[in-house]
Subunit: 390 residues, 2 copies
């Protein structure tokens, strides 16, 4: 095994699709672009492809960095690269910015060719099912009939589940980290407050703020702050910030006194500078709506019954957003179906964010799982034409 | 024991104070009013008074109803009344709207006699310690040297703790329900987001919105929605709302689809119609700042060492805002001091809100505790002059 290292400088690519997409909402998108990145090389059999699905605020930039922006490291760079748990010396890894996103794929800020103006409020409310369909189309275009694995954390894990349900013959392994089979009422409630913060911001203009040269920054900041609290555990926040005071004393005002206030505001500020508010609405709604069991009278086992993939399901003890009990619902349903599932509940203090962190036990688990996948992939020699690789 | 019933029609009273109050912040309030209610009768020895302290959004209206508004029932009416756990046939119960409030006590919306305009942003940042001082002054004026008990839930419980620390000779029993000895980083974080929602509302005008004939309603709604999520347990929300849809189907929009969204919005709307945004800022900040151990190098036992009261501490298993572990910190510190403490961890599904609900085990506990207090109070015959009673 080589020493783990970065995949190095990478470059995003765009794929244009002009086969209309009939969304679950009934809306039809005539054409769209997907922004994606790939690392490693597809083998001759096309059997070593791994799709990495992103969660709320991430993108196609999963690993490596950009030559012009060496600090812009991919969001799952600790997991993916040569010698890393998902080893790009063996696997052909694909990251894609989901439809409706704000990092290059067609989304609310994109120009609607029919009007010449940004889609804004007219962009379809996309779902996990819609995303997976577009990802399958991207796989077609990259010449991948069957994914060695689809992998994701949180909302990304929901996409991996949906691949297993919607394209059972096209996915060999689903790696489902820090997931839930559907949001709880509390999860939806937090999303509702975040969306209300955005839509009641006077700069929102019903979603068509682009025309006004403003963005609903206050609302987006609040939305991010609310979300961020739910990504961390109470203990992790206490460990990191405690009740530390910025100036060493209480100042009897409503501005920042505690370090945790400063941190949260900073997170909100940063986020509001790069993320599109409409995309935030879309993505939180996709989370709310995902519920594969709903069409089966609430029977998750029945919803998962088409799946042929093997599953790795992992959760983190301190994750209160998608607690281990939620992952166990998935595992139980898979076991009811006699599916092949490996489950790990990882003792980690960092809350939901743990899925993004470099935890030794977690990474060892994923590494071991990919070792087994590699054995199924056969010869890892790349195909002759490498046009599809980065 | 009589059948539990309502204390009936009650009327609030105002007490004016013109001895300046030196707040912990350094600010001085020259004069102020406190709005309060009393139920039952003070006995001749003045030994049966119970002060009930309120939490975030409540008031002096603790029990009974108003003759002109029979639906306006006190916020702890299930606990307090003839034959109820806190029996007004035996105890003289006092509810007071805290200084800085918006239900009749002097607060940010009150007219500053120096300017003839509402205090607004110039109102002092009041603390739990300041509130307890004003409550002690009210006790003086009502002729009560020593409280039979000071009782509260959540922020109200912090006031009971502060009574035990600040006025050890004037409180016989502290009833501390659903409490924490100080907020965690996560607690502060939620408060920070709520305050940001208010202060970034364009209608906030730096806290001086009264002059503009507006209120920062959007911000206050968001603040309440965020708070409300933390009052309920995930399980209780799932039990109450699940993923029920208002129209029976998903509508692919950002308006209300799920019942829980409708409920939260309704809570936010209602709250924003009656609560003052500046009061919300003040009260959440009082929560943030309360930390009696801070002055003792973080040693809670040392902070509580002046206390002479007996303590009843109660927590609820599903309360994740102030989890049982937080109450146990208080109990541990009291035991370290060899204080007289009774602790109950009540198995209740309702989260933090459980302290307001009519739970049989919880109410039986409080009833039993007050039985013992009654024995200490001696003759319960009222004093001859009853001017101080309702």
């Amino acid at each position: 095994m080589s020493e783990p290292r970065s995949v190095g400088a990478v470059r995003p690519q765009t794929m244009h699709f002009d086969t209309p997409l009939a969304c679950r909402s009934g809306a039809v998108l005539d054409a769209y672009d997907l922004m994606y990145e790939t690392y490693g090389r597809l083998n001759a059999a096309g059997s070593n492809a791994v799709l990495v699905c992103h969660a709320l605020n991430a993108s196609h930039h999963v690993a490596g960095f950009y030559a012009a922006e060496p600090d812009k490291v991919g969001w799952w760079d600790n997991m993916i690269g040569p010698g890393k748990p998902l080893d790009t010396d063996r696997f052909f890894v694909i990251g894609v910015n989901n439809l409706g996103g704000c990092f290059g794929s067609t989304g609310p800020a994109s120009t609607d060719p029919k009007t010449g103006r940004p889609y804004g409020s007219s962009f379809p409310v996309v779902t996990v099912e819609d995303w997976v369909e577009t990802q399958a189309r991207l796989a077609d275009r990259l010449g991948i009939e069957r994914m060695a694995a689809v992998m994701g954390g949180s909302l990304g894990a929901m996409q991996a589940l949906q691949w297993a349900i919607g394209y059972p013959a096209r996915i060999a392994n689903a790696i489902v980290v820090a997931a839930a089979p559907k949001l709880s009422a509390q999860n939806i409630a937090f999303n509702q407050v975040a969306r209300q913060a955005i839509t009641t911001d006077p700069d929102f203009h019903g979603g068509d703020y682009y025309a006004y040269n403003v963005v609903p920054r206050s609302g987006l900041r609040l939305a991010r702050m609310i979300g961020h609290i739910t990504y961390l555990s109470d203990d992790a926040m206490m460990e990191k910030f405690g009740r530390s005071l910025r100036s060493g004393a209480i100042n009897f005002h409503f501005d920042v006194d505690f370090e945790v206030e400063s941190y949260l505001r900073h997170q909100g500020d940063k986020f509001s500078e790069y993320f599109d508010a409409n995309t935030y609405l879309l993505i939180t709604r996709a989370l709310d709506y995902f519920d594969p069991a709903a069409a089966c009278g609430g029977d998750l086992a029945r919803a998962l019954s088409p799946a042929q993939a093997r599953f790795l399901v992992a959760s983190f003890t301190s994750d209160w957003r998608f607690a281990p009990a939620r992952s166990r619902e998935i595992v139980k349903a898979l076991l009811d179906n006699r599916a092949d599932v490996c489950y790990a509940e990882i003792d980690a203090p960092h809350g939901h964010d743990a899925f993004l962190l470099d935890d030794a036990r977690y990474h060892a688990l994923v590494r071991a799982y990919f070792e087994n996948i590699a054995k199924e992939c056969g010869d890892l020699a790349p195909q002759a034409a490498t046009g599809a690789t980065a």
